[in-house]
């Protein structure tokens, strides 16, 4: 395979080496009266894979949506690449280098694979040459290359996930946020997706990953945060986490 050119946003490279890429302090989000995320702190160092795990309804998706600006914060601050982005509009966060691959993929079903990818580069403006980026995506996911003209809605679940990730990468992010990229996929496909995550990281990408499957997440990640009922209840480096403790966090304190 050709050596793949870097797909990393320039901000990642100009960072001061000791400053975290993403720093979240006291983040809280409410839906009406319900507080779904209740004051969490997160730090993502550049070039790492950090994952956020927890049972259903823990507030993982809510946290990610707040990071990319889809939900307003009830409290807290977000710093990204040395800049306070707490109140920045979502589309500007994409331009700053945050790509969010949402839960359930949400590809543009009525558009072709190629159009989905082209839209991924929207934040970079009209003038850029995206042909080389398209090639890079095809190198990463050869199956997308065979289906460029196909409507995204007719892809299989795994292919849609590949497309969603590739669409996110088209913005040349420095931080790739992924919400349950393996949801509903067959084991083989899960391996393929997770291997790709490792591959992308090898090229210098920073990844914030939400996973239901805590064991896989621990294997993959440099750092793991465990979330429960809107709070971070435990964090450690991926290698240090004791699976038994994770299980107890999943099942809740009452067990």
């Amino acid at each position: 395979m050709n050596p793949i050119a870097p797909i990393v946003h320039p901000t990642a490279l100009t960072l001061h080496p000791t400053e975290p890429l993403l720093q979240v302090a006291g983040l809280a989000v409410s839906y009406g009266r319900i507080r779904a995320v209740d004051g969490i702190d997160l730090t993502v160092e550049p070039g790492r894979i950090v994952s956020l795990v927890g049972s259903n309804g823990a507030g993982k998706t809510t946290t990610l949506m707040a990071l990319s600006g889809l939900l307003p914060l009830a409290a807290g601050r977000i710093r990204f690449a040395g800049e306070d982005i707490t109140t920045l509009a979502p589309e500007l966060r994409v331009a700053r280098g945050i790509a969010h691959v949402p839960e359930r993929r949400r590809v543009f079903a009525g558009m072709s694979v190629r159009e989905n990818l082209v839209l991924g580069a929207y934040s970079r403006g009209d003038a850029v040459d995206i042909a080389s980026d398209l090639e890079r995506m095809v190198a990463l996911f050869p199956r997308l290359g065979e289906r460029m003209a196909q409507l995204a809605g007719t892809l299989s679940g795994g292919e849609q996930q590949m497309l969603a990730i590739a669409r996110g990468l088209m913005s040349r992010p420095s931080l790739l946020i992924m919400d349950e990229p393996t949801m509903g996929l067959a084991p083989q496909m899960i391996d393929l997706i997770l291997d790709t995550v490792l591959e992308i990281r090898k090229q210098g990408m920073t990844v914030l990953l939400v996973e239901q499957n805590a064991v896989e997440a621990m294997r993959l990640s440099d750092h793991v945060y465990i979330m429960r009922l809107g709070r971070i209840v435990h964090e450690d480096s991926g290698a240090n986490i004791d699976p038994e403790r994770v299980k107890s966090f999943y099942l809740g304190a009452d067990s």
């Binding site: 889809l70 589309e91 949402p102 082209v118």
Partner: protein, 677 residues
Amino acid sequence: MDYLGQLLANGLVLGAIYALAAVAFTLVYGVVRLVNFAFGELFMLGAFLTASLMLPEVRLIGMVVPMPGFSLPVAAAGAILLTGALGVLVDRIAYRPLRNAPRLAPLITSIAVSVVLQSLAQTVWGAEELRFPEFHLATLPPVVLFDSIYLSVMDLVVMATALAAMLGLSAFIARSSLGRAMRASAEDQMAATLVGIPVNRVVAAAFAIGSGFAALAGLLYAQTYGFAHSSMGFLPGLKALTAAVLGGIGSIPGAALGGLILGLVEALGSGYLPNGTAWKDAISFVLLVGLLYLRPQGLLGKPELNSAGRGSLLGGASEFGAGWLRAAFAKVDGGLARAAAAGPRAALALLAVAILVGLLVPSDYWLRILTMVVIYGMLASGLNVIVGFAGLLDLGFVAFWAVGSYLTSILFVLVLKDQFGVAPADIWWLLYLNLPLAGLLAAGFAVILGTPTLRLRGDYLAIMTLGFGEIVRVVAINWMDLTNGPMGIRGIPAPNLFGIALGSPRAQFFFALALAVLVVFAIARLVRSYVGRAWVAIREDEEAAEAMGVPTARYKLYAYAASGFVGGFVGVFYAHTQQYISPLNFSLFENILLLMLVVLGGLGTFIGPFIGALIWIVFLQLALDLPFVQAYPETRFALLGIVLIVLMVFRPQGLAASARVALTMPGTRPAKAKEAA
């Protein structure tokens, strides 16, 4: 054959105009799922602005203002740009704050925006027609095809412009980056945001383009028929919406197809049907209703659009508003909540106040006004049954009202008096028979009209019921033998009890009050029964209600029937107090007004419709004392529209929302209070 050719040519010209305006509806609906009723008015403004820019001077608000006197193309370009900018402004003020509001809210504001724009246009340009200046191409001799089809040069210009504009737009949507962003936002706003598309700006662009198309259609229409008028956008706006729905709303080729079909059908219908020109407006609505019944997604549309109406029509509160405003509403809410807790006692106290007012108000003038308040309150209550309790946005409610009014008027005047020479005083009891009879007739009618709408949701339901309402109005105007047509029916006797005429304003007020007690009592009983709980379940989430085993179709029909009954019942009394009715009394505007009153007061409450009616009718009278309003009476409607937009943005649930009847879902235990009672 020659005649056919000419009709087809006329139909093509008209169809091209409808298609352009349909594009406006389709484009905005495609991106934000909003039926922007105000496009009819932007159509009208396009015509006025073009005509004004072409003239050397125009009278605006009574003052002569010099104008540049541009040629048609320059003036048209200016008008399109101005209207496009206005469309963006409207989106910013009236729709964008409501992106996450209940689905009814932006529909109401779009109707309110129409009312505002139309009355402002009437204020600015006056109530008369403005003659559209002649363009030099229009003076060229017509083109003759096959020796028999005459097309003016301007007709060809209209068709060529429409074709070019639509092809250009299609290419823009398909190829350009902004067009792609529009399609992406239309499919999934969240995913579009996540790829970095500024969705709000894309929506604003859709409004700008849509408004520009509406303006283009309007100016071509005015050019073709030679005039501009403040109400000229109403029917073409509805036709364009029909065309958009016909073709499949959200689809640009669909809009073109729908517009052409509508133009052709109208031209052929007016040429070949007996008395076709009179009926041509009904033809398009019949087509609309039939199509929505058979294929709700339209000819080229995708079926899922109909399901966009999912979710509560009116739940949720505003995220906007300053502290003092919230505090003021909190006070209102507290008071209403206490009153609601007092239940029947509060209702009796209110009735006592109404009786006292009826006894003590000395002026006949104000008693008449208060009677109108009660009548409009009752009618709004009837509409509230279907919109507020069952959550079905019905824009055809006036039809039921018309059925009641016409039934009693036809029986009393056209049949008994004119045919048999019976004096109304001898058959005074017939009124009391007519009340329930008209109620039943209207209820039956409502069920017949409701049945084909059962599969439709939200906006489509509104459009279909609107179509029904218009059909009834066109029938009322044109079925001369039955309704006396536009002349209306005169000499309807005042109510009479045992030979004593109840002609005095005070007697009529008490009569109205008695009916109101009946109406509210009946509605309250119904709403508090299992029927009402099923309605609320349907209103909050139809799919969930269905999944829970509520036979939604049956309960929706009950809602139509109940609402129709009230409409017919009150309509009888209305005819006898007015003593004169004509189709003008039952226009779509009346329906919109009633809807506004219900929304103003609070949907799904018993008191809301009366509060809304009281505020509106008293405001109407007080406003008449202002000199500016005396000179420009139509500005009152603009004010109502503005009040409503502000209300929707800051308090979409209506003034008296905290009096909304709290009901448990069917299947759960009924409320404690009810068991104790």
